[in-house]
Structure formats: C-alpha cells, structure tokens
C-alpha cells in the first residue's frame, strides 16, 4: 500500500519569529513534491526536545484557511503515495536527528466549506495511525493517540517519553 513514494525536495527553512507566541518552536522546514495532478507542500515544525509536527497541503491552499488547507479531499486517490512521501521525509529527518519524535493531527474533512465528519477518529487519523504502526513499528517508537481530537504521536524511545508526551499535548492543543 505505501510502496510508491514521490520524489521530494527541500525548498528551505524558516527560523522562529521572535514575536510569535509559540515559544518552543525552533524552526520550520519546507519540502515539496509533485503527484501526477497536484503540487504538495510539506511543512515540518521543529520544536524543542526534537519534536516534529508534520503538515502537508496543496500548494494552491498555501494561504487558505486552516480548515480548507488541511481538510480538503482532492479525489486523486493517491493518499498512500502522499503519506509514504511524508514518512520518507520523516526518515530523512530521523537519519539526521536520531532522537526525533513525530506528531500529527488527522484533520476532519471539509467539503464546500462544510465539515463533513466529526473531529474524533477522522479518516485521516485512522490512515496516519495505520501508516505509523506499520512503517515506524514499535522497536524505536512508542505510539500515543488521542481519538477525541485525532492527534497522534510517535515518540522516540531514546527520549524521555513523559516529557515528549507533555510537550506534544501542549503543542497539539495550540494547533486548534
């Protein structure tokens, strides 16, 4: 299922804005990749304690509202390739930072500016959880979830798991 990643490129990084409220954010890494029909951007927010928050969206939604940016369905039917590409980017980060932990939120689907599913156990959350369990495994990572908010954390076992979990709880909460 997850065996057809797309070729990705790093397009740059943004240092933390000193005036931002998000105090633990260190920098944001920017990647992009192309599917047959669309161009995607992957933003990886790097927080303290080697915690990375993964976000991806269509290039044309770069300045769209959060709901449209992360909750849109393209009907391209390339979800597995797109998710695998994001995991390949995560693995590249892991090769540079051995103690990296990864967090994400499975956004609810929006169609014509209407939320069409509940925020709990979204289909994105179910897919990302499935991918994390099968692609990262439990040898190096401990997996945590919050089904009510569709948040997920793959915490690196090289780190203090309680500290990473607390940090992730606060960071994920700030994303809503």
């Amino acid at each position: 299922m997850f065996d057809a990643p797309y070729k990705f490129y790093k397009t740059g990084e943004t240092k933390r804005n000193p005036f931002t409220l998000s105090v633990n954010l260190v920098k944001t890494l920017h990647y992009r990749f192309d599917t047959e029909k669309n161009e995607y951007h992957v933003d990886i927010k790097c927080y303290e304690h080697s915690l990375y928050l993964i976000e991806f969206f269509l290039r044309k939604d770069l300045k769209s509202k959060k709901e449209e940016k992360y909750g849109k369905l393209t009907n391209e039917r390339k979800a597995s390739g797109i998710v695998r590409t994001c995991f390949d980017i995560m693995l590249e980060l892991l090769s540079k930072d051995k103690s990296a932990s990864f967090a994400f939120i499975g956004s609810p689907t929006y169609k014509e500016r209407q939320q069409t599913e509940s925020a709990a156990r979204t289909k994105r959350f179910i897919l990302y959880r499935y991918a994390t369990i099968n692609l990262l495994g439990n040898e190096s990572f401990e997996v945590f979830e919050d089904e009510y908010t569709s948040c997920f954390l793959a915490a690196n076992k090289l780190c203090d798991l309680d500290l990473i979990k607390q940090e992730a709880n606060a960071i994920l909460k700030s994303q809503f």
């Binding site: 509202k65 959880r129 369990i133 099968n134 439990n138 401990e142 979830e145 919050d146 992730a168 994920l172």
Partner: protein
Amino acid sequence: MKTTIPKKQITKVSSTKTKNPRSSNAIGMYATKADVVKVNLIKVSEAVYNANRVKAYKPLVP
C-alpha cells in the same frame, strides 16, 4: 467614612474591543478554540496496535 474621588483623577487608560463571537476561532466572547480543546495522548493499546499491524509490512526503521 465615605471617600470620593475627584472626577479629574479618573482617566481611561485603554479600551479593548471584544472578540467577534461569530468568528471561527472564537467560542463565546473571549475563549478561543484552543482553550476549549484538550489533548490527552495515551499509549496505543496492544489490541489497537495488533489490529492495525500488518505482518507483510516490514517497518522502515530498524
């Protein structure tokens, strides 16, 4: 004993506009969505882990 403050001493320092309760990130008057949402990550249970685990996949991380 009743004390009265002369009117001239009372000065308005600043005024804050109340948040539009109709805006998408405002719940009620002041609380934002992030104040209401609580994230509580818990370890994925063994049952959920095993239900999702497909033995045909070999994890990419050693």
